[in-house]
Amino acid sequence: MIEAQNILKQFGEPAQTVLHNINLEVKKGEFVSIKGRSGSGKSTLLYILSTLDTPTSGKVLIDGIDISSFSQKELHAFRNLHIGFIFQFHYLIPELTALENILLPPRNINKIKEYTDDAHKLLKRLDIEDVTNKFPAQMSGGQTQRVAIARALIMKPKYIFADEPTGNLDTANGDTVMNILIEENQQRGTNICLVTHDPDYSKMASREISLIDGRIED
């Protein structure tokens, strides 16, 4: 469960307020989409909820624990084990093969062997077995994004944060990505927070949160 309490986020000098006093609760197993126009602060909210960014004031509680009380080390370990990120760009490491990219999170805790089987299963499930030993430059856009999703799923995280994961994809690939997310949410009960400006994809979520100018629209 993620709770956001009175989140205020300001940028720059003089301070521009991007998020105004946001109160939000993402319940266990929920699939939440955050929609809004560009500049509405939806990505900023996602990064604050996902521990990557810190609010100017206010608190984020994950499973009841204030994440500002985490040390850098604890935060890294928490992200490693419990959070999966999917971005608009795949951000795969070009020098590593698909399999090696997927195994990056377990590599951080020296558990590659334990997760190799899972990685192969994911490759199969996402229908990208044929790129297992290929480098990102040798894959298509849809394939790279699916490898990136596999990398986000490998640790079986409790939370997945996706920032416009379909933004660079055509409709067919976009649909595939959304289906994977829905499947993950329904089968494993993974909490998913999705930022998108595509109304159709937004509707697929169990709850939609609409941001307008840094405020939640009721």
Binding site: S43, Y47, L52, D53, Q72, K73, H76, A77, F78, R79, N80, L81, F85, F87, F89, Y91, I93, P94, E95, L96, L104, P105, R107, N108, R151, D163
Partner: protein
């Protein structure tokens, strides 16, 4: 992270090769310059040690001390003025307590060998030719332990002096000036009498001043020649490790009135030259490695700028600061060590080639440059290459580790 570090380097083959080239070139230069310079130093110090030794103990000259005499013959309250103040020497320089010194030397475990010597001026005569020279009486077997003299004997052998019997080994130029060669006899004039000596060899140190005015003979013969049986003027001592000379000489110098000099004090000018060489050697190396270091810095900085997003993603997956730091440092380390090793091999090749060039003239024992191949130079070169690369990679590594994923993803860095 080593795995990813290497992958990234391999994917940038051209840059990596260029930097490796830079580092190995620096290392190679250091090794070649050191090899030649240290080789030259061995040559110089060998030559120097033939004249002196690691430590040379010699008797003080016994001058007449005017003020002491004044004190002895005058009353306290009268002032005594000399018309001609007493000047002179009471005796030749000699070591008074040879046995005492032998005891001290034998009790010092660092000593490799030692020999008593008597060094006196004499005139060598052959027919109408006369040459002033210094004749050094020594114990041949011991002298050969104290210096590399046998290597410089170019006809006959230093061993011929063993047993004595008025045999002499002349400097190469001295022999030529007298017009004699091995097997002939010459006359030595000292203290109003002549002795006949048989020339049993010649030596060539390469210094005309020494080669033209010095000779070696058995200690007993020289003592007879000087009419002072049992007298010695100096003790030459060699050590297992030349670097101990300083400390031992200092310790011994307080034991008696005799002069105790280590070879460095005896050859101050040459030591200064060697220090200068060292300074040049290190300066050159430092400059080259500095340039190589900048290369490493450059490549890694560019690499990090190109890989900002990947660093961000690694951090968002949970890779901590120290992991990112080590990712970049490993690359620097790899560049340093690999470049260093390649440089060591190149340096070895280059010095071997230089060492085989025929100079066309005699330098010491051969007509090649003497090259020093000591392991310490190679170790030092590798360490220098590695350290300069690590230092150069630290700044880029640190800035990479400080990047926060959110700044990069937002595109504000």
């Amino acid at each position: 992270m080593l795995f990813l570090a290497l992958r990234q380097l391999i994917s940038k083959k051209k840059q990596t090769l260029l930097i490796l080239l830079g580092i190995s070139f620096g290392t190679m230069l250091f090794i070649s310059i050191s090899g030649v310079m240290l080789g030259l130093r061995v040559y110089i110090s060998d030559a120097l040690l033939n004249n002196t030794s690691h430590i040379l103990i010699s008797g003080k000259e016994n001058y007449v001390d005017t003020s002491k005499i004044t004190e002895l013959i005058s009353n306290k309250d009268e002032i005594l003025n000399w018309i001609t103040p007493p000047i002179g020497k009471k005796d030749e320089a000699k070591i008074n307590s040879y046995q005492g010194w032998v005891k001290v030397i034998q009790e010092t475990p660092q000593v490799f060998g030692h020999t008593p010597r008597l060094s006196i001026p004499a005139i060598a005569i052959k027919g109408d030719f006369e040459v002033n020279m210094k004749i050094v009486g020594t114990i041949p077997i011991e002298q050969m332990k104290v210096s590399q003299i046998e290597d410089y004997v170019n006809s006959g052998s230093f061993k011929n002096l063993i047993g004595g019997g008025n045999k002499i080994i002349l400097g190469d130029k001295l022999a030529r000036d007298l017009g004699v060669s091995e097997g002939q006899t010459i006359k030595i004039f000292n203290k109003d009498s002549f002795f006949t000596y048989k020339v049993v060899g010649t030596f060539k140190f390469g210094d005309d001043y020494i080669d033209g005015a010095s000779a070696f003979a058995n200690l007993n013969d020289v003592q007879m020649l000087n009419k002072t049986p049992g007298r010695i003027s100096e003790i030459a001592v060699s050590l297992y490790n030349i670097d101990d000379a300083d400390e031992i000489a200092q310790r011994w110098s307080i034991l008696s009135e005799d002069d105790v000099k280590n070879w460095k004090d005896a050859n101050k000018m040459f030591m200064e030259m060697i220090q200068m060489q060292d300074a040049v050697r290190f300066f050159v190396t430092f400059s080259v490695l500095l340039v190589a270091g900048f290369g490493v810095y450059n490549v890694l900085t560019i690499m990090i700028n190109q890989k900002r997003h990947e660093i961000a993603i690694l951090k968002s997956i949970g890779y901590g600061q120290e992991k990112i730091l080590s990712l970049v440092l490993y690359q620097g380390l790899f560049l340093g060590i690999t470049g260093g090793i390649i440089g060591m091999l190149l340096g070895l090749t280059l010095t071997t080639i230089i060492g085989n060039i025929d100079l066309g003239f005699q330098l010491g024992k051969s007509n090649h440059l003497l090259i020093d191949y000591s392991v310490s130079t190679y170790v030092l070169a590798l360490i220098a290459a590695t350290i300069s690369s690590i230092v150069a990679s630290f700044l880029p590594a640190y800035s990479a580790s400080k990047m926060t994923p959110i700044d990069i993803i937002r595109g504000q860095v």
